[in-house]
Symmetry: D2
Subunit: 109 residues, 4 copies
DNA sequence: TTTT
DNA sequence: TTTT
């Protein structure tokens, strides 16, 4: 447990159903996108909503739970940690992505 | 305040002195890189340390405080929110970056 | 902002409607009780639910929002800070209480 | 893990060495007091520091780590959960206490 | 005193 | 790509 060193908490809505992959060792991986919508009043008193999309990664038991209980549109709270990854895309360009590896989630009702 | 919807906490070491930019309206922006080092034991009982680098952005008073008090190597705790941004690099490739907009930091002694 | 030094986050159900008090200077205070229900499996595989009751205190704008939008039974997420207080009860016994001064809340649906 | 439902984070100084108790089953319990010092400017621009004392409880491996590495005066960051307990004191008065059961701690340097 |  |  290193939650003091690296911890993210989000509350938002899922933009997609979980994409689940199973590996040889039976271990599961689920991917999700979550949108956080934060609003504030600007100088003119207009309500502005800023949406951020975040990439979630779930492993093992959490992936299984996501597959069984979560779907597009659901509002969820998650706790996880930031992880950075890079890969080379189809055009040979090196890409960097930041993902949140989820430790725990709660579905809001 | 939307800390319930989008909140990140990190404890780590700064990889650089703050890069500070001042704007016309006297508003300041500081950029920092922070490394979080998490360790665990693998299957063979060996201690593995995983380092993640994160991009921090500080505005206004927080930028001023960072400029005055923080330098490369310092251990700091930060609280902020995840924000995604994109730009086109010098080769015309669209790039996506995830940054943490810092609300608050503590220097550890 | 001292959220790095002292921060509490709870998700639970309200055991009562907000108790609101107004002061001379028009400032409002609201009190709430919230139950957090955590479950786990014990040695025998039985599901155990442990309930903890927490005392919430809200001031000003947060008190007004609580008065307008929250009621007994609601599921809410809160962020606040721990504060300890003491008083002498009607029998002359000195009492210590721990309360959570709420900075922010979200009503779950 | 129920860190989404009930989570406390504190950064402060220990008011005492850990008080450690060992049980028959070899399980350890450690108790600690931690002071959080938050400062702000009042109406007159004076700096006010408010100190809160919190009761920490650590079990098992965390208790052992506390016993070995922590002492009075140390600055530590902790993550844990709120738990309420009651007992009858030597005068027959029923007492309620709020404690933080620590999941994880970091010693600051 | 809540909820599942 | 979500939601209010």
């Amino acid at each position: 447990m290193n939650t003091l060193k690296n911890s993210v908490r989000l509350v938002g809505n899922l933009g997609m159903d979980p994409e689940v992959k199973s590996f040889d060792n039976n271990r599961k991986l689920a991917r999700l996108s979550i949108a956080t919508n934060e609003s504030y009043k600007n100088d003119k008193g207009e309500k502005i909503t800023e949406t951020q999309w975040h990439h979630l990664v779930l492993w093992g038991a959490q992936a299984k739970l996501a597959e069984d209980y979560l779907k597009k549109g659901d509002e969820v709270a998650i706790e996880g940690k930031l992880a950075n990854r890079n890969y080379t895309d189809k055009d040979g360009v090196k890409r960097y992505v930041t993902e949140i590896v989820v430790n725990e989630f709660l579905k809001m009702r």
